[in-house]
């Protein structure tokens, strides 16, 4: 009698154990894997959002200053590029567009080469780097020999999708001469230097007026280029000093620039012997 009751109780226990085992089986083969899978998918989404946020932030950090100048007696344009941002940029295209948007020349890797234009496109510029893409020749149909229509805006685009217009826009062409949209004279200063990292200071003093201006650069790799507005025609003393911290300041020289008109820009070239 006692044995019979024990067996009955034992059988009831089996169904409970089976039920628990099945619940545990469902938990481990279905619910937990689903939870882990959903979490990993969510992580992938979050990672993508963060990565794209970083990409957008980097895009916002790009800052390129563009100076475009026409070369007289030709259909050529030189484009000086200065990376003022704290991030490397890849210049992918240069646009020359007539003001009426009817005529557009696009310079890309297909028609710009180091052999013809001093640099290839795309052109990578590290922070503080400068480069001049030279002799971008406009196609013949761009120039109509009509001063009212031969007015162009120049822009560059980067691999991150930014567009930067030239500070000298618009360029105008009239009977072999180029002009810029600038309202006052500028001085163009170039320091030819080796590939080391240098700091330079440019001092400009107006002889015929009270104009003084000091510009300092930091951590320039290779050549240094800057243009400085002087607002009035006249004579200007330009002194360039190398101020790299490792050594005492070295004066690279002084030149007198005589500015008689807004364009073409007066230019001085200094050589860094080191």
């Amino acid at each position: 009698m006692i044995q019979s009751t024990y067996r009955k109780k034992a059988k009831r226990g089996i169904s409970t154990v089976l039920g628990v085992l099945l619940m545990v089986g469902i938990l481990f083969t279905t619910i937990i894997p689903l939870f882990i899978y959903v979490n990993s998918v969510n992580n992938y989404y979050d990672t993508t959002v963060v990565n794209m946020g970083i990409a957008d932030q980097e895009r916002g950090m790009e800052d390129v200053i563009v100076y475009a100048f026409g070369r007289d007696e030709s259909y050529d344009i030189n484009v000086l590029l200065v990376n003022e941002g704290s991030i490397s940029v890849n210049i992918t295209r240069i646009w020359v567009m007539s003001m009426d948007l009817q005529r557009i020349n696009i310079f890309t890797s297909e028609n710009v080469s180091a052999a013809l234009n001093a640099h290839d496109l795309p052109l990578q510029l590290n922070p503080s780097d400068q480069a001049t893409i030279e002799n971008l020749t406009l196609t013949l149909w761009m120039i109509l020999d009509d001063p009212d229509k031969d007015v162009f805006n120049i822009e560059i685009t980067t691999a991150r999708g930014n567009v930067f217009p030239s500070d000298t826009n618009p360029l105008s062409y009239n009977a072999g001469s180029w002009g810029t949209g600038m309202n006052w004279p500028w001085l163009e200063i170039i320091v030819r230097s080796d590939e080391g990292q240098d700091d330079f200071q440019v001092d400009v003093v107006g002889n015929s007026n009270n104009y003084t201006k000091t510009i300092s650069s930091e951590h320039v790799l290779g050549d240094y280029f800057t243009i400085i507005p002087v607002f009035k025609i006249g004579d200007y003393n330009v002194t360039v000093t190398k101020t790299t911290q490792k050594s005492s300041p070295v004066e690279l020289g002084t030149e007198i620039l005589v500015v008689t008109e807004i364009y073409p820009i007066s230019m001085a070239i200094f050589i860094d012997p080191d």
């Binding site: 279905t30 689903l34 794209m52 557009i104 999708g161 567009v163």
Partner: protein
Amino acid sequence: MAAMVLVIGASVWSFATSASSIISTNYYEEVMESVEKVKERFVIENTGVDNATNTLRIWIYNYGPIDLTIDLIRVTGGNNISSQSVNISISADEFKLITLEPTEISLMRGLSVTIELRSSRGTKAYDSIHIS
């Protein structure tokens, strides 16, 4: 009793497995759609005009990491709107020219034109030009 538990348990297990599979697949697809939308990046790099043929030339640059499809171009000029459904695929890092004839708008001098592009994922890009 044990047999009943086994049958019901196996049914629940089977249902839970298939439901979990469907839920995870649907969830994955929805999240992937969102991920692709988050990744999508494009810009109207520049716009040109051809007065003679009343044509707009729109250069689009896909600077994102995934391919995209432009499905709507809307051009607004003055009080007129020209809306065209298109199907233009642009690969990642591709730079593409689209020519468009906005039939309801006459591209004359002095007109300010706004261009809106919409991708199949709903992302939009805009550009404005003044025809001088």
